[in-house]
């Protein structure tokens, strides 16, 4: 559904310079893209700048959008490349610790009702997530949270679909083990 919506926004932006469509695209994807940027540049301000740069470029080069197959993959890749350039430009400010970054990803221990799991269990699930290797965590983030397809994740991260499968297997196993232990 979102994909379909994003696709139609892409067409409106590139074909009729539609500012409203551009704004909607921005609001739909901001959170995901921002979070993805923080994987590479730890500082919030820099991650914000990365996202802003990418959206600015999208608008300025909107006539090119029509030739882009998958705008989401395009945006994620642009975030990655822009962020990596930032880390080269500002090596000190962007000192990023992949573990630290991905640690921000966790279930909310305050409101576990939706999960019907005790907050202790949540804490253990969270620590299972934290114990994932960085690459595994990143793949997990993109597949589970951002609901990207395996093929899309592979394209964005420049890895094979097989690697995505393997990493996801590892991630699920860890998660599942935590669930198994702490569920009745």
């Amino acid at each position: 559904m979102t994909d379909y919506r994003v696709k139609s926004l892409q067409v409106r932006i590139s074909e009729s310079d539609d500012q409203v469509a551009f704004k909607e695209l921005y609001y739909i994807l901001y959170k995901e893209l921002f979070r993805f940027a923080t994987v590479f540049v730890y500082q919030r301000e820099l991650a914000e700048e990365v996202v802003q740069d990418v959206f600015t470029k999208v608008w300025l080069q909107r006539d090119r959008l029509s030739s882009i197959n998958n705008i989401k993959v395009y945006l994620y890749s642009a975030i990655k490349n822009t962020a990596i350039n930032y880390t080269k430009k500002f090596p000190l400010q962007t000192l990023s610790d992949p573990d630290l970054t991905a640690m921000e990803l966790s279930y909310n221990t305050e409101t576990p009702e939706g999960l019907m799991i005790s907050s202790e269990s949540i804490a253990l699930i969270n620590s299972a997530i934290q114990s994932m290797p960085p690459k595994c965590k990143l793949v997990f983030l993109l597949v589970k949270e951002d609901q990207l397809k395996y093929r899309e994740v592979a394209q964005i991260l420049n890895i094979s679909v097989k690697t995505v499968e393997t990493q996801m297997g590892i991630a699920l196993k860890k998660l599942s083990t935590a669930v198994q232990f702490y569920l009745p």
């Binding site: 704004k23 609001y27 959170k31 608008w59 080069q61 006539d63 921000e104 589970k144 499968e165 996801m168």
Partner: protein, 375 residues
């Protein structure tokens, strides 16, 4: 067994992610049959999967404020005019090639006093919102793009990259325009109403003719090259003195700043009067291969340069390609080049320059910023 076990996890994950093919689904069922260990609570996993996690840092981000930043930089309300022919496009002249000479006439300028509508971003439409009745009308072309316009009385103007013309609302009765940058004028003949162009310190008066004026703010001179007809030129420094230009002649007028410098240098043996130094007239140079006048080669999508220092050339490249060029050291900015670009993009152009000077410099590109340094 271990292999089967990890394959099982892989397929389960794929199923949760809703990214599983029919074959994989079958494979998964096969594996599940054989699974010796009791299977984990699939429902709990599914719930867990469907629940969004949190990102603590996200809470600090003000998405609306971020949007404001973007929209302010991209959609400034104050701008007089949107010219969207070819703006913002990374390889302007490739795109423009087709449209440029052939469909230039389709451009219109709307200058309705009192109305403040504009056609936002419709290709090839230029419009002028007039908030105050007497605000001069503007036509601009940003760096990296060119545009053309037909003025209300029929004169055609081609604007090179990074240029601007302004004119008043009473233009039809009093043909006067102000130019910053470079433009080619094909002035509609009207003996009763001379057409006047103010460019830097130079004023050009014409009746009906075609000529090129180059008056970029960051250049130290104003060049006027006449293709046909005749023009009369005066400078602000010496308004009484009228200079007549004949076809194929080109006049170069130095800006006051340089003249003042020349005056200051007067002691060091330079005996010529500063006023006389202010301008020089020369013949336009014709490219032998296809008899295109060099001064208006830009209209044919060609950037010609002869014995220019890299620093001079870089200014033209900045406008041509819509980039900024920065020299990390002086040595590289002093290398001289002769040549021309026609359809090359910026990378090809830089590579060609590198090759022609035997790799005396290196460059790096970051977005539209180019850094030049010696090895």
């Amino acid at each position: 067994m271990d292999n089967n076990q990890s394959r099982l996890w892989e397929l389960l994950a794929k199923r949760l992610g809703d990214d599983v093919t029919a074959e994989e689904q079958a494979e998964l069922e096969e594996l599940l049959k054989d699974a010796s260990a009791p299977l984990h609570d699939q429902d709990a996993l599914r719930t867990l999967w469907a629940t969004k996690m949190q990102n603590t840092r996200m809470e600090l981000v003000d998405i609306d404020k971020q949007w404001e930043n973007i929209s302010q930089s991209l959609f400034p309300e104050k701008s007089h005019l949107y010219v969207t022919t070819l703006d913002d496009r990374p390889e302007p002249h490739k795109r423009f090639k087709r449209a440029w000479m052939y469909t230039a006439a389709s451009l219109l300028i709307m200058a309705c006093a009192g109305t403040s509508f504009y056609f936002y971003n419709l290709p090839n439409v230029i419009s002028v919102p007039l908030k105050e009745e007497d605000r001069p009308n503007q036509v601009t072309s940003r760096n990296g793009s060119k545009t053309s316009v037909v003025l209300p009385e029929g004169t055609k103007v081609w604007l090179n990259a990074g240029s601007r013309i302004d004119y008043n609302n009473d233009f039809v009765g009093k043909r006067e325009v102000y130019l910053t940058g470079e433009a080619f004028f094909d002035v509609k003949h009207n003996a009763d109403d001379p057409f006047i162009i103010h460019a830097g310190n130079v004023n050009i008066k014409v009746l009906g003719t075609s000529f090129n004026v180059k008056a970029y703010a960051d250049d130290d001179r104003v060049e006027t090259a006449l293709v046909k007809g005749s023009v009369e030129l005066t400078t602000n420094d010496d308004p009484e003195r009228k200079i007549l230009l004949r076809p194929s002649e080109k006049i170069t007028v130095l800006k006051v700043k340089r003249a003042a410098g020349a005056q200051a240098d007067g002691d060091s043996g330079n005996k010529t009067a500063p006023k006389a130094e202010l301008y020089s007239i020369s013949r336009m140079i014709v490219d032998k291969r296809d008899s295109v006048l060099e001064d208006i080669a830009w209209m044919k999508e060609r950037l010609i340069f002869k014995g220019e220092t890299f620093s001079q050339l870089s200014k033209r490249m900045e406008r041509w390609y819509g980039v900024t060029i920065f020299f990390a050291d002086q040595a590289s900015s002093l290398v001289r080049f002769t040549g021309e670009f026609d359809n090359q993009n910026i990378v090809q152009a830089l590579d060609a320059l590198q090759f022609s000077c035997n790799y005396k410099f290196r460059y790096s590109i970051d977005k539209s910023q180019i850094r030049i340094s010696t090895k």
